[in-house]
Symmetry: C2
Subunit: 140 residues, 2 copies
């Protein structure tokens, strides 16, 4: 598969794929004429890359995952370990999100004065006359 088709099938641009090759995310073999040639699995791999990326993994991290999978005698075990690691990361991210969600949910309807916390040039007073119940609390 040449770069154009891979681009079409993944929704990425040719430039993006060339960039990914440059940073080691994907390795193209070459045809006799110098054109890149990708196996069909490259489509799935790039979709995985996109998925991982939108979940907050950097290209370097994703590439490292790929790297670690190569050069391992039996990939099966290594894969399981790697996936378990990723799951831990995902779980950690999820609980961070859950914490923020709780934070946010608590503030709904309480009239918490985030406003007092957004400097707005009006002098930082309390123009509403309402009391200021502590402003946002511990976020960390």
């Amino acid at each position: 598969m040449r770069i154009g088709e891979l681009a079409a099938q993944t929704g990425m641009t040719r430039d993006t794929i060339r960039f990914y090759e440059k940073v080691g995310l994907i390795a193209g073999r070459r045809l006799a004429n110098g054109y890149r040639d990708f196996p069909p699995e490259a489509v799935a791999w790039l979709q995985y890359v996109r998925a991982a990326q939108t979940l907050g993994f950097s290209l370097a991290e994703i590439a490292r995952t790929g790297e670690e999978l190569r050069g391992v005698p039996d990939a099966s075990e290594a894969l399981s370990a790697l996936f378990e690691e990723k799951i831990k990361l995902v779980d950690a991210r999820m609980s961070e999100l859950a914490a923020l969600r709780t934070e946010l949910a608590e503030r709904v309807g309480t009239g918490c004065p985030l406003r007092a916390v957004v400097p707005d040039g009006n002098g930082g007073g309390n123009p509403t006359g309402r009391p200021s119940p502590k402003a946002l609390g511990p976020v960390n």
Copy 2:
């Protein structure tokens, strides 16, 4: 509060705070000598910024949130609406993560050939002799 103290209390550098002011994330009033002067609430605000940021919100998004909170006659309702919106975003992110988690968990112990999908210059063959059960499946 001057910039140095704010920096110390938030763990940010002065440069970062100046940068945040430049992009409208925080607005400093000025003392007679030109020094920035921040209200104590700025600490909580910057902590909130960090929290939101590590959860994947861009500075522009965070700034917009702040913007929207200003110029609203009664901030309390606007705040609740905004928080509910953020909660939806957080929920969406969490379910994406949950989906990836499932994906990953399913692959643990299955020996799924992600390797076949990471071009490695050895020709793309199947050096292990094991069959290739479809490589990664639908990620989207």
